[in-house]
Each structure stands twice: as C-alpha cells, then as structure tokens.
C-alpha cells in the first residue's frame, strides 16, 4: 500500500519537476529575446555604414556624409579606448585598495563606512558622477577634456572593482593567509604576495567587467569629455581637450537631423556592442578557468 502511494507521489513529483524546468526554460527565452532583438535590430540598421572608411576616417562636418564623401568614427573609437583606459588607470588602484580593505581588514575602523560609501557610489546615477567630474576637473581647467571623462568613468568603475576585488579575495581559503602569517609575514605582505596572486584571475575579471560597464555609459561623458568631430592635432589633446567617445557619439548622431548620420549611429552601436559583449565574454571565460 505504502509502496504504491509512494510511487504515485513520485510520479506526480516527476511531472511537477518537469513542469518547473519548462518554466525555467521559458523564462530564459523571455530574457534572451529582447537581447536578440536589440542585437538584430542594431545590426540590420547599422551594417550599411560599416565600411573601411568607418574605421579610418574622422567624422567631420555633416556635409561629408550627405555628399557621400569619406567619413567615419576612427577618432571616436580611439577616443573611447583612451578615455576608458584613463578611467581604468585611475579606478584600478582605488578600487583594488577599497576591495582589499573590505575583504582583508574586516575589523578596520574604516571598513563599515567604506562599505556604505561603496554601495552608495555603486547605486548613484552615472550622470551625477559626470556632474562631479565636471565640477572638479572641467570647471577648474576651463575646458572639456578626456581626463574629465576618464575621472567620471572612474567613479563608475571604482565601486564595481571594489566589489569584484572583495569577492575574488574572499574566495581564497583562509588557510592560505594563516600559512603566510605562520612564516612570519606581516598581514599586508600576506595579502599582496599570497592572497592576491592566488586571486589574480578574479581580480582581472573584475577590471574587465568594470571596464565594460563604464564603456557603455554616455551620460557622464556629455559634459566631461564632451565630444569632438575630429582627432586632436596632438595626442595630448586626447587628455586635455574634448574627446569623442562611442556612447556619446551614438547619442549625438541619433539626435542629428541627417539620415546618413542616423545610420552611422547604428553602426556606432554595433561597434560598442561588439566591444562590450567581447569584454563580458572574455571575463566569463576567465572565470570559468578559475582554480578557486
């Protein structure tokens, strides 16, 4: 009797289980469909403008595009790399330091406030970070600049790097730290020479994710790096003068009155998308190979 009842309920549980799995598959599809639509739509609309010149020419005036003369976004692509790299150079040490304090010094007096500040910064709208960079860099310098854009994006990256660093370090077994202490290493040396090397994949992954997240931000760049239709004459103009970046250029092209520029905007979208998705996939692949 009992055996039969058990079998019946087992069957019912199997059915129920299968139903739940189907629900999961369905919700996965629902998540994926918008992504596929975005990717498809951007590609269909922008692919027409993706030619050789797109990657070798500057944008120039609208007349170039309208008259079918060579035009492109080489200055935007270079500008994006420069501004994002500057942001990473500023954010990496700060975020790393904060992450180390969060993970390795739980009893430090600054730990609780730092956690709150970091979470707040993480949740703060990016446009406010642009405003901050505007007031501390653009105003004193009297000009929009790549540096200001880099600082604005650094504020986007810092909390992400700090969080990723914290969790990468926490994933390293405590025993490694004790082994370091037991051979008479000071605490900071243990972190630097035993914990961080063991966590390096996780740390690099954090940088990549922060980089990708910041690379997609347009708002904080509008009034910091501002935008530019040309490459600066001298490379220092990339740091001290207005610089073009993909998300901000995408926006400017999209709101322009020219149909040719609209297509170029879509094409800028393709480049940005490939760049960001590429970074995320790299980060993902690196995490998969992690030993801890």
């Amino acid at each position: 009797m009992i055996a039969i009842e058990e079998r019946v309920s087992l069957k019912r549980r199997n059915l129920w289980g299968r139903f739940m799995v189907m629900l999961l598959v369905l919700s996965t599809l629902i998540v994926m469909i918008p992504l596929l639509i975005i990717i498809g739509y951007v590609i269909i609309n922008g692919i027409g403008a993706l030619n050789w010149e797109f990657f070798t020419e500057e944008l120039g005036s609208p007349a170039r595009a309208i008259q079918g003369r060579p035009t492109g976004l080489v200055h935007t692509i270079i500008g994006t790399l420069v501004v994002d790299t500057m942001a990473l150079i500023i954010a990496a040490p700060v975020g790393l330091g904060a992450g180390i304090l969060l993970s390795e010094y739980p009893d430090h007096r600054l730990n609780p406030p730092l956690r709150i500040i970091n979470d707040t910064l993480n949740g703060m709208p990016a446009i406010l970070k642009g405003l901050l960079a505007f007031s501390i860099i653009v105003k004193p310098m009297g000009t929009f600049s790549g540096l200001a854009g880099g600082v604005a994006l650094a504020f986007v990256m810092i909390p992400i790097i700090a969080r990723a660093t914290e969790s990468a370090l926490m994933s390293i077994p405590w025993s490694i730290r004790e082994a370091g202490l037991a051979i008479g290493l000071p605490r900071w040396r243990v972190v630097l020479s035993t914990v961080m090397p063991a966590a390096r994949t996780g740390l690099v992954t954090g940088f990549l994710i922060a980089f990708a997240r910041a690379a997609g931000e347009a708002a904080p760049l509008m009034f910091t790096s501002f935008g530019n239709n040309y490459l600066p004459r001298h490379w220092t103009g990339m740091i001290f003068g207005p610089v073009d970046t993909l998300p901000q250029r995408l926006y400017s092209l999209a709101i322009s009155p020219y149909r040719e520029w609209h297509t170029m905007g879509w094409a800028a979208g393709i480049v940005l998308m490939v760049f960001v998705i590429g970074l995320f996939i790299t980060a993902r692949l690196m995490t998969r190979g992690r030993r801890y």
Partner: protein, 281 residues
C-alpha cells in the same frame, strides 16, 4: 596528575613537579623553552581552553592528545598568536617564550611567529608559487634577495623535510602540483626555512597515507635534535612513537601531563586511562 592552578613561578616549578611525578631526577637537564600559565582561550562565551599551565622543553617532542573538540588546536594556536585574527577569540593568562610573555603589548606578533613556526593540519602550499618560492617565502618576501643564500636555505630546508630528492629537478613547478604527502613536507620545509626555535604541528599527518605519515614521524625524530616540538595528534600510537612528553586534554582542560612513557603505562588520572584504553574519544 591534575595540574592545579599555578601560583608559583619559573622553570623550577616544572622541574620539581616533574621529579615528583617520575619519582626520580630527570636524566637530562630539562630546558624550558616555552610555558603557558593559566592560559585560557574562549570564543565569545564558549571556553575552549581552560587555565592550562604546561611547559615545552627544548629538544623534546611534546604531544597533545585528547578527543576531538577538546581544545588542542585552540591551545596550539595560542602558542604563536595565531588567534590574533580570529574573530571573537579572547586569550587570558600567559604564554612565555624563554621567560618573556609573547602577548605583551610591546611584542610584535610577526617576530613571535618567526620564532615559533607552525605546520597546519591540511597542507597549505601557496598555490601560485613555485616549490622554491614556497620554501623561501618567509625570507624572500621580507626582502632577502641573495640568490645564493636562498638556494642554500631551500636545499637545506627541503633536505630536512625529506623532500629534496623528490623535487630537486622541478623546483620551479608550482607547489600545488605535489602530492598531499609532499605538500605537507613542503609546508614543513617552509616552516623550517625561517629557522624557528619552536615548531608547532597540528595533526600534521591526519590527511596523509600511512607511508607519508611514517616519513613525517621520522622527520620529527630528526628535527627534535634542534627544536622544541609540540605536536597535536589524536593518533595515540603516533603520540607514543614520537613524543617524550604528553599532555592529555579533555573538555578544554589539561587533565594530565608528564613523560610519555609514564602517561601511557601508568596514568594517574582515571579519565586519561579511560581515553588511552579506548573507552571514549
């Protein structure tokens, strides 16, 4: 013998107690390297070690035995300030190294840990470091760069740990690539490389196969020529084989302490006898 709460001081106390315990003067002059006085450790409200007073003699192996959870690890970790980073761990009483309190506020725990080495229950090689760098980590990472010196130390430490012949041709491969037994000997070599004065070992063979365990026991025999060794084990045969002195812990208390032979053949305390005859634990 029940170690009552200590009130007297110094090495003499243990010497006299030892004599009265054995009933005759010890054969060798006993040199107290470390001692604890009323050492207690609690985690929050939980008392894990209760008022333990015990000597650690130089060039002798002291074994700490007792059922699991009785506070052996907790006690051992208090001997080189490993609890400093354990949340909630509170230590009272004294731990003396050559007569000086290692918990004195002016004492740097880093210095203490360089003098009192520790080998953990589980092998803990630094996973990304080469075998060579693992062994000399305690020297290299505090700024000693002299390659020739490091090479010498590495070879000496690996030889002492009976690992040199097995790894001499692959010193640059990662520490994590060794077998469990080799990793434990690597951990021992790493502890020896900084030339500590006391070596603490927490069940160093518990995760190893019998062959590797035997090698490490041999090693302990050789090492005691130069060190004071404290080994935690819940393998009674092992305690009998390697140690000169044995302390029996039960529920955080040191129930009995004395010469290993004496403890094993003629324990004074009923609890000790029950434990040694396998009535519990």
């Amino acid at each position: 013998m029940m170690l009552e709460t200590a009130t007297d001081t110094g090495k003499e106390r243990f010497k006299t107690r030892e004599m009265s315990l054995i009933g005759q003067a010890p054969a060798k002059e006993l040199d107290v390297r470390m001692e604890t006085r009323d050492l207690s450790v609690r985690y929050g409200q939980v008392k894990a070690v209760k008022s333990v007073s015990v000597p650690v003699y130089n060039k002798m192996v002291t074994a700490l035995i007792g059922p699991s959870g009785c506070g052996k690890t907790t006690f051992l970790r208090a001997l080189n300030r490993m609890h400093d980073l354990t949340r909630g761990a509170v230590i009272t009483g004294k731990v003396l190294l050559d007569g000086n309190d290692i918990y004195h506020p002016k004492v740097n725990p880093v210095t203490i840990r360089r003098r009192i080495g520790m080998v953990f229950q589980k092998p803990t090689p630094f996973p990304t470091m080469s075998i060579f760098n693992n062994v000399v980590a305690g020297l290299r990472l505090v700024g000693i760069k002299d390659k020739k010196f490091l090479n010498e130390v590495c070879e000496k430490a690996l030889t002492s740990a009976a690992l040199f012949d097995e790894v001499k041709d692959r010193l640059s491969s990662p520490g994590g690539s060794l077998s469990g037994g080799q990793q434990q000997r690597l951990s021992i070599a790493r502890a020896l490389a900084i030339e500590p004065e006391v070596l603490l070992m927490d069940e160093p063979t518990s995760s190893l196969d019998p062959q590797s365990s035997a090698r490490i026991e041999d090693l302990i025999h050789e090492l005691k020529e130069n060190y004071a060794i404290v080994i935690v084990t819940h393998n009674l045969q092992q305690a009998g084989r390697v140690s000169d002195y044995t302390g029996f812990f039960y529920l955080g208390e040191l129930i009995e302490f004395g010469e290993t032979e004496k403890i094993f053949t003629n324990p004074v305390n009923r609890k000790t006898e029950e434990y040694l005859t396998g009535k519990f634990g």
